[in-house]
């Protein structure tokens, strides 16, 4: 299983861009990289998913270098409501495995 490593915490201010990096040195060829957001007392919520290069949706961008050993979640112009824990998940592409490994997450605190 690909183990992930993220910073424990990050601070930012409203309106700034925030970049959270996840290391996954043992990523397998078929693995995708998925990021989730979790608020207190709620289940994680999907943000973005990618396999290589860059992916962008209405809330975030995901940058994945060619070697795929890391990935960076980019949140443009954060607001107070973006204060949450962010998890990087590297899932196996093996059809019958279905095993997924969450890291300990990055607690992002956005200040006014």
């Amino acid at each position: 299983l690909a183990k992930t490593t993220q910073p424990i915490s990050m601070d930012s201010y409203e309106g700034q861009e925030v970049n959270i990096t996840c290391s996954h040195n043992n990523i397998a060829t078929n693995d995708y990289i998925t990021w989730y957001q979790q608020f207190p007392s709620q289940g994680p919520r999907f943000i973005i998913q990618g396999y290589k290069t860059k992916v962008t949706n209405e809330v975030a961008s995901l940058f994945i270098p060619a070697d795929r050993k890391s990935s960076t979640l980019s949140l443009p112009r954060v607001s107070l409501s973006d204060t949450a824990v962010y998890y990087c998940l590297v899932g196996t592409g093996n059809t019958n495995a279905g095993k997924s490994t969450f890291g300990d997450g990055t607690t992002l605190t956005v200040k006014p």
Partner: protein, 112 residues
Amino acid sequence: NAGVTQTPKFRILKIGQSMTLQCTQDMNHNYMYWYRQDPGMGLKLIYYSVGAGITDKGEVPNGYNVSRSTTEDFPLRLELAAPSQTSVYFCASSYAVNQPQHFGDGTRLSIL
């Protein structure tokens, strides 16, 4: 469309008691997962299922059992509750192994 529904939301058990945490999804997803999340920590996979009748162990399966008789339901059974099983339990589902997971709101379980 309710997504993933977990019951109960809260429960207090005595040591040695047993109980079943219920999880049902209405998205016709093949994959279902059970995670536990201890305070301030990430999610750890307990069991997962790739379809009706097929289940497999995750990272921390000891003390738990699961079954998957239908596509919709994936109950988690605690046979002899122990204080170490005090945690928040999340159920999730996905269409395929590399597709984003949809989470329920969790069951907060305390064992005294």
